[in-house]
């Protein structure tokens, strides 16, 4: 009895234990997982590519501890280098991280797929985890021989053969063949060509940052020859507005501002440098030369004043004037800024990640960083030793070294600078007259110098030739060397992004391992190579893009193309996106007839809501940027790139539309859609005044009142209204007119918007037509490039 009881008890325990084991097993095998593994169905590629499939996984999940950073490396394992990944593990004799062809013997793979949380890689506390698709990719890659390759962006671009596509009647140039190949791979077809009207507006916006005027459009469309578009492109490229448009974009890269930034943020006069940029773009200076003079113009043999002026590029960074700073600390910040700008703006690399430690992802060491740093570390800069209170009575002040531009220069070699006669202006520039020894700063701290370094460039990108001078001139030659794999790619990609909204590499600022991969690698390479073969000719590049069928597609999104290409990654249609704050403002000024087309000169102060500077400055008289006093007359209507840029409070009409504050180099702006933008477009006096003036001009120019609404529409949208649109707007106009005929007081108030002289038109009619113009100015289409 007792025996059988014990027996039963034993069996019971065994059963319970078995049950527990089964339960455990069920848990482990995912039996109780309610969510399905969404990666299970993802199809593996035929051939697994290291750069495109494997490295993104390794870099994102493994490099932090098993990558280029020597100080953080664990278990002596380095997965970014082929030699290391196949070597015997120092802490695990007889074991190898990767054995080609044998995932079962590859310890790295074993650690990735293990169920043991103590063994699992990446470790659970890192918050990182590989999905099942990534694990399968790794397995297949190892099975296929675990082939390593150099990072794609560090291999110099080559022109691949133009792809053969099934469809042969669409391509207009080489670009299209590459685009069509990918479209066909993804079962997509291109959209039909956009109408000439749309294309002319699109090209004008891309090339000049302004709408085409009605006369231009009329002329192109009535022309008989077939090359309407090519003629339009040539004409847009030859207007001075082209240089202004390109400069606008370069100002973000160059972190240009009219103030010093930091604490007191008082005035500086770098605008002659900005005038030089406009001049350079309009003369179509080749991009390699454009970069070289900005990096090292002062060091060129018999440097001209123009070449020295161009080096202002590297003095555009913020400079502190806060009392009591340690100048040595800030001097190091300035050099860091130049180094980072070279990285982000020119090479497309996040060099700054190697400032405090070896780069976690890219094969860039901290030593590489300070070797580049040392190129920029010899400037005879003193720092601003005058705080804003002391500086209050100075019109402007510049840190050494600077050049003084007088009438002699502007009447001679620097005639492109729009300077008032008789007033000299100081512009900060570069020199190498204070050679400093550069050290690797431990943890990036200026007061912890370590090993001494000398000028050099990262070998992984392109070895710095012995023949090059070890100064910025040599650096400029290295940057613009045709074998430098980055410079041309990065620029071509940014031009692509300017035109298409997104770059072929989405992360325009990062071509490194952690950046996005190119959507069309062969196209990017073809364009980069082609750009260099054509002498780094920017206008040539733009024209090439605009003559492609890809560019000339319609931007209409069908339900089908939205479904199969939701982000328009494969360009099955032209992009449709909101214009920048600068272009929107210029567009409104141009269409209303207010735009003042003067080129260059000191920055201007258009309308700004009162009190903004006063609320945030430090109080008292701290120089010319303490209180905002708007300009008068013509200066209110200059293009937006001439609007005075105070770093600590950038013009709100730009920052509301995603402009950066220009503290550091930026190469990519967001394109948000917010209620603050809606408010700015409705209530900024600049907008209201433009609506009033376009109404007045129309009433003055057009006798037939029946035509007014149509005329205003044509002026703003550069097309004829459709019947439906016309109906809505005319009904609005007549309702509103009726209201104002009975309410002259409010009509008078409305048409008083802005300083521009009233034209003496009837207030009620003007107010009604002004609000009609307001409706049109607030349409999505008006602020969008279609």
């Amino acid at each position: 009895m007792k025996h059988s009881f014990l027996m039963r008890q034993k069996i019971g325990i065994v059963l319970i234990l078995l049950g527990l084991v089964a339960l455990l097993f069920a848990f482990k095998s995912g039996f109780f997982k309610s969510t399905k593994d969404s990666y299970a169905d993802q199809r593996l590629p035929e051939v697994v590519d290291y750069n495109f499939h494997i490295k993104p996984i390794l870099s994102d999940n493994c490099y932090t501890c098993h990558g280029p950073d020597a100080n953080k490396r664990k278990a002596g394992l380095r997965l970014d280098l082929e030699s290391n990944a196949f070597s015997e593990l120092p802490e695990n004799p007889g074991k190898y991280p990767i054995v080609a062809g044998k995932p079962g013997n590859s310890l790295m793979y074993q650690h990735v797929v293990t169920d043991d949380p103590k063994q699992l890689m990446p470790p659970p506390d890192s918050q990182l985890k590989l999905n099942s698709y990534e694990k399968r990719l790794l397995k297949k890659w190892i099975e296929q021989g675990a082939k390593f390759e150099k990072h794609w962006a560090f291999i110099p671009p080559k022109k691949a053969d133009i792809p053969k596509t099934e469809r042969t009647d669409w391509a207009q140039n080489e670009i299209d063949a590459f685009i069509l190949e990918k479209l066909e791979e993804n079962d997509l077809s291109p959209s039909k060509k956009a109408g000439d009207h749309t294309l002319i507006r699109r090209m004008a916006l891309d090339l000049t940052g302004l709408p085409p005027n009605a006369e231009q459009v009329q002329r192109y469309l009535s022309g008989s020859s077939g090359n309407i578009l090519e003629r339009a492109i040539d004409e847009f490229l030859s207007t001075p507005a082209y240089g202004e448009r390109m400069t606008q974009v370069w100002l973000d890269v160059a972190r240009y501002a009219d103030s010093h930034g930091y604490q007191d943020d008082s005035y500086r006069s770098m605008w002659p440098w900005r005038d030089w940029v406009i001049h350079a773009f309009n003369n179509n200076m080749p991009y390699d030369q454009f970069l070289s003079v900005q990096l090292a113009g002062d060091l060129m043999p018999d440097a001209t004043k123009e070449q020295v002026l161009a080096t202002g590029f590297n003095r555009n960074h913020p400079i502190t004037q806060e009392g009591g700073v340690i100048q040595e600390e800030y001097q190091s910040y300035y050099v860091v800024d130049r180094t980072n700008t070279l990285g982000k703006g020119i090479l497309g690399l996040t060099l700054e990640c190697a400032k405090c430690h070896d780069h976690k992802y890219d094969q860039l060491s901290q030593k590489d960083y300070y070797e580049i740093y040392s190129f920029f570390n010899n400037v005879n800069e003193m720092g601003l030793r005058m705080d804003a209170v002391q500086a209050a009575n100075q019109k402007y002040f510049a840190d050494a070294p600077f050049m003084t531009i007088t009438d002699e220069e502007t009447n001679g070699v620097l005639s492109f600078i729009n300077k008032t006669e008789g007033e000299d202006v100081k512009v900060m520039v570069m020199n190498d007259s204070m050679p400093r020894t550069t050290y690797i700063f431990d943890r990036g701290e200026y007061d912890s110098p370590g090993e001494e370094v000398t000028p050099n460039a990262p070998e992984i990108i392109l070895p710095f030739s012995d023949k090059l001078p070890k100064n910025r001139l040599g650096l400029a030659q290295w940057v613009t060397d045709e074998n430098n794999p980055l410079t041309s790619r990065v620029f071509v990609n940014r031009i692509w992004a300017m035109v298409f909204g997104n770059g072929l590499v989405e992360t325009s600022e990062d071509f490194g391992v952690q950046g996005s991969l190119p959507s069309h690698p062969q196209l990017l390479d073809w364009l980069s190579k082609d750009f260099m073969e054509h002498g780094w000719d920017i206008k040539y590049l733009l024209k090439k893009i605009m003559l492609s069928a890809t560019y000339q597609q319609s931007s209409i999104a069908t339900e089908e193309s939205k479904k199969s290409d939701p982000d328009n990654k494969w360009l099955s249609r032209a992009p449709r996106f909101r214009m920048s704050g600068e272009i929107i403002r210029d567009y409104v000024l141009a269409t209303s007839g207010l735009l003042n087309r003067e080129i260059g000169g000191p920055s201007v102060k258009p309308y700004q809501p009162p009190g903004l500077w006063e609320e945030t400055n430090a109080g008292g008289n701290r120089g010319v940027l303490t209180t905002y006093i708007a300009d008068e007359g013509d200066k209110l209507y200059r293009r937006s790139l001439y609007t005075l840029w105070k770093r600590t409070l950038p013009p709100p009409s730009m920052s509301i539309f995603d402009a950066p504050n220009r503290d550091i180099c930026e190469v990519r702006r967001q394109k948000t859609n917010t209620p603050l933008q809606a408010l700015a477009l409705q209530n900024d006096v600049q907008m209201l005044e433009a609506a009033r003036v376009v109404a007045e001009n129309t009433i003055m120019d057009t006798k037939d009142a029946e035509m007014w609404v149509t005329k205003v529409f044509q002026r703003i949208l550069v097309r004829n209204p459709k019947e439906e649109e016309k109906k809505v707007l005319e009904e609005y106009y007549s309702d509103t007119l009726e209201k104002f005929l009975n309410d002259k007081e409010n009509a008078q108030k409305l048409v008083a918007q802005g300083e521009y002289k009233r034209l003496g038109t009837d207030p009620a009619k003007t107010a009604a037509l002004m609000l009609t113009a307001q409706v049109i100015y607030n349409l999505d289409e008006t602020i969008t490039k279609e």
Binding site: T616, L649, Q670, N746
Partner: protein
């Protein structure tokens, strides 16, 4: 749930689409700036890896933050860190062993002596907690049992710009998102008509340092999370007011026509961004009502005005901003950032600091009492403090009635209240000179980690991937200061 591992640089993009598909949030609730995400505060308490936008990692103690930033750096030695030794050893040179290699700003680096200077303000102990508070702050002294004074804050920065940037963004160099932007990104908005991160500024008569919009910038986060500066006066949000001559119904009429034309164009182009534009215009229209309404303090009763002081009736003052902060908190604003300028006393400290303290003392205390009486203190975290401390030695001429103090990064005091912070305690200690921390140091990273913790966010998990790197408000450091939590 598998972590989203697309190589996208912009998780928000993914998240937005995710929200539309998963939660069927209508386009109408797509909102401004920080208004983007509806209230998901009561969402999953389960910790999630990655970026759980709009969902806290664990049960939060606080729902919102009011940060009373004292810009310029108020002296800890005349406020909360009582150091009788300085009186005893007045005029003696700061021992080298105490200074111990601390770098100096250019303003006092040239001084050949560093004479110790005692506080011109008298100290007493208050409340059950026996907290030491100077006579400059009589109202705050009275609420000492409601607050937690931290005497052991420290930073690396010794100049205003990097120091204040450090406090606001977790980095001394500009470019990172502001704290408020991180919270908006992590937790979303609690309301549909106001931004979730707002900024209010005021200035005292003391020596001031400027403010900069980068302090409330969203950095690399989507600009939706940017702080919205609410200004005193008739245009609290930029471009909020319609022009003279245009009535509310005129505006409605105008917008209806904009809308109907946009709808026609939406059908033609198939671009859904137009729908979003229409929604933004509607939100803007609603804000034109909701913002002035929340800003209108005239509705406040006499008792409240008395509590905050007469200044609360003068728009743009610190007191008015404190009252405003409470109204914004009531209306679901997540992060309310005040700045009061004027605390940079390199000279004339006793006089200037008394004035600055008078500006902020009553209203700061009133805010705590007011939140408490409304039952809001328990889920509202209030923070009071500057960007660094001030030296225990005199800057300039040695005159106990009119002296100055330079910047001091190694030890300074702030206080916090409500929202999961233990009331009536003092945390951390400095040495008898008030120069170095001897117990329980709290770094800015720790401070950030603690605030995030109380909002239900794990500072190591709220991550944004940018330029290939995973960024956190606390960068690579920070420990939650558990000792001061309820």
């Amino acid at each position: 749930m598998e972590e989203d591992k697309t190589n996208s640089e912009n998780p928000l993009k993914v998240n937005r689409r995710h929200f539309f598909s998963q939660l069927s949030v209508g386009i109408g609730s797509l909102a401004l700036g920080s208004l983007l995400i509806p209230d998901l505060f009561k969402g999953s308490p389960k910790p999630l890896a990655g970026q759980p936008l709009g969902i806290p990692h664990f049960a939060p103690k606080a729902k919102r933050v009011i940060y009373l930033f004292q810009s310029g750096a108020p002296s800890q030695l005349e406020s909360f860190d009582y150091k009788p030794t300085l009186t005893k050893r007045m005029g003696e040179d700061l021992p080298e062993s105490i200074r111990n290699g601390q770098r100096l700003t250019g303003m006092t680096a040239g001084q050949d002596k560093f004479p110790l200077m005692p506080s011109a303000a008298k100290f007493s102990q208050y409340g059950k907690s026996g907290a030491w508070v100077s006579e400059f702050f009589p109202h705050i002294a009275k609420i000492s049992d409601e607050i937690c004074i931290v005497k052991s804050m420290h930073t690396e920065a010794i100049n205003h710009d990097p120091a204040i940037t450090f406090f606001q963004t977790g980095s001394q160099q500009s470019g990172r998102p502001s704290m408020g932007s991180w919270m908006s990104y992590g937790l979303g908005s609690e309301n549909q008509n106001l931004p979730s991160f707002v900024v209010l500024t005021s200035r005292g008569k003391g020596n001031s340092q400027g403010l900069y919009s980068k302090l409330w910038s969203s950095g690399f986060l989507d600009s939706k999370h940017q702080g919205v500066l609410l200004r005193s006066g008739k245009d609290p949000v930029l471009y909020l007011n319609d022009p003279d001559g245009l009535s509310r119904s005129d505006k409605r009429h105008l917008l209806d026509h904009v809308s109907s034309l946009n709808k026609i164009h939406h059908v033609e182009t198939g671009d859904d961004e137009i729908e979003s534009r229409i929604a933004q215009y509607e939100m803007a229209y609603r804000m034109q009502m909701s913002v002035p309404d929340v800003m209108d303090i005239k509705k406040e009763p006499e008792s409240i005005i008395k509590l905050y002081g007469e200044d609360s009736q003068v728009p743009g003052t610190y007191a008015a901003n404190c009252l405003q902060a409470r109204r914004l908190a009531e209306n679901g604003v997540r992060f309310i950032q005040l700045y009061h300028q004027g605390w940079d006393q390199h000279g004339n400290l006793p006089n200037e600091m008394a004035g600055q303290a008078k500006d902020v003392d009553q209203a700061s205390a009133a805010l705590i009492l007011d939140l408490k009486q409304r039952g809001m203190l328990e889920d509202t975290l209030v923070i009071w403090g500057g960007e660094f401390g001030r030296t225990n030695y005199c800057q300039g001429n040695f005159d106990p009635k009119n002296y100055g103090r330079d910047h001091h990064p190694r030890a300074f005091s702030i206080w916090m209240a409500g929202g999961g912070i233990k009331p009536g305690i003092t945390y951390g200690e400095t040495d008898e000179f008030g120069y170095n921390i001897v117990k329980n140091p709290v770094h800015i990273n720790d401070f950030h980690a603690t605030i995030m913790n109380n909002l239900g966010l794990d500072h190591e998990q709220l991550i944004y991937k940018y330029q290939g790197r995973r960024f956190r408000l606390t960068d690579v450091a920070g420990n939650v200061v558990n000792d001061i939590l309820t």
